[in-house]
Amino acid sequence: MNKDEILGKLTTIFHEELDNDDIVLSFETTADDIEEWDSLSHIQLIVAVEKAFKVRFTSSEIQSWNNVGEMIDCIIAK
């Protein structure tokens, strides 16, 4: 799966978990750009991403990403 495909799949997850279909994700999107993306819903996203991509993030990875692009890099590296 390439970066764009992952971004597409992530977009669906964000829509579902944050209950907002208007969210548009790019590699540069950060938590500040999305109202519903706070520290709590971050955990929801992590768990949903782990399930969707059948990966497991380490506790430091969960804290490390500065934007969606870094999250995608992390998924690819698994």
Binding site: E16, E17, D19, S39, L40, I43, Q44, I46, V47, A48, R56, F57, T58, S59, I62, Q63
Partner: protein
Amino acid sequence: MMKTFTQLKRNVNKKPEGLKKIKVALLGDTATQFLNIALKGTAIDEGFDLEVFEADFGQISRQILDPTSEYYDFNADYTIIFESSHKLLSQYYKSYDSQLNFAQDKINYIEELYNTIQNRTKSKVVYCNFAGIDNQIFGNFANKVESSFVFQQNKLNYLLSELAVKKNNLFIADLLSIQNKWGRNFMFSPNIYVNTEMVLSLDVLPIVSHHMVSILSSVEGKFKKCLILDLDNTTWGGIIGDDGLEKIQIGSLGIGKAFTELQQWVKALQKRGVIIAVCSKNDEDKAKEPFEKHPDMILKMDDIAVFVANWDNKADNIRKIQSILNIGFDSMVFLDDNPFERNIVRENLPDVCVPELPEDPAEYLEYLYGLNLFETASFSENDAERTKQYQIEAERAIALDSFTNVEDFLKSMNMMSDVQAFNNFSKPRVSQLTQRSNQFNLRTVRYTEQDVEDLMNSENHHTISFTLVDKYGDNGLICVIVLEKKDVETLFIETWLMSCRVLKRGMEEFTLNTIVEIAKKNGFKYVVGEYLPTAKNQMVKDHYERLGFEEQEDKWVLNVDDYQSKQVYIINKN
């Protein structure tokens, strides 16, 4: 069947109007924000709107011990206390000198918290027990070392249950059982814990909150009272009409073991007081044959309160069962292996709980264990008799048909009632009846056993319970009255409820005669009643009017001096 955390969260954002409000304080020693959301979302599906006070984590003692805390300002109906086994383990590590007494010290502390809450509020307390951690310091040998954490934790869970037996307002949220069923790796995510201080995984939150809300619901009077069984391939393997008595799979035949064990479970529920009914597409005589003749059947005809076997639509048959038992559709569970039948019932009777049974009968029981369908907030010795009472009720209904007038029928019943103030013997049943009765219940006040005890000791209350025996059998304790002295002249009927099993026997009149006697004896001039409507108590809307009370400002007043004792055919045993 159970929603995901994300769906529960969505529930909260789309809360419907008109739900019953309940105030819940959530005190935890780890992060509880997600549990808070899951509880609210789960409660909405149960018809409750939770207002939650969530203390900052780690504040359990402060909130409870400080009489001026936000917790006491909030004045919760329920207090959920969630201490995690994680924090328990770190407390244990710090208590080098007293590890042998760790569980005992901890339970003393929990008892002190409980007593403090009870001295200051009327809140019921839901305490979580401790999902196990084996820290592997001793391996299996830990069970032979009294000071080990494993030993102390097991002991603490045991002591907690023992404390709950003693304390009427203490309920246990059984996280340990949830962990036994779903597994520690499912329940706990280390990476999430490290980042958030949250010890419950997102996947287990709906299960935990379902258990907690079930406790609240059952105390509030909402729980399952009746299990309706389909027969072919649900109660036994095979089809009785095709396979015949010898070839249905039960006991040691084929996958019979699965059905035998299911029947054992159903029988245990029946003994606990759950009403068992049968609803099957079959010829009635064929359907009854295994119950009467098959040596491996655990369930017998005696265990079944209502048996419906015909070729009618199942939804209609369940309506028929409902009208005989006179309980709400929302207190019924229907088990059927056939998805088509399940859907018909779901579509026509959306309030009936219809579990999506797995395809393989071998999986039925484990699946059902995961649903926690039959939560209850009370248990009394009387419960085992319930099936018999419903069967007798069916006999009475037939007898009534053979009399031309009701008076002759009532006389022929030889009814006798034991009238008593509440006492330690009746306490569990009184409390249970206040939790179960919805239809004939004028104000729908629920009492825990602790509340009943408070009423027994109150100077401002008269309490009365009634039993009813007739020639067919003993109905047990079926009517509860609580009278409150409002002023020197006025006695207020705080609670008047009756079991619907004894309707139309003159019990209402007999009860009123007794109330007025008490009022007269104690010098009261007025008896005042009130009807508080709920979704279920339409039946008693005109209750006070029918008995001759006069309406005054939303209350109903009876002048004691003018009261003429009503004609009844029930003898007071005392």
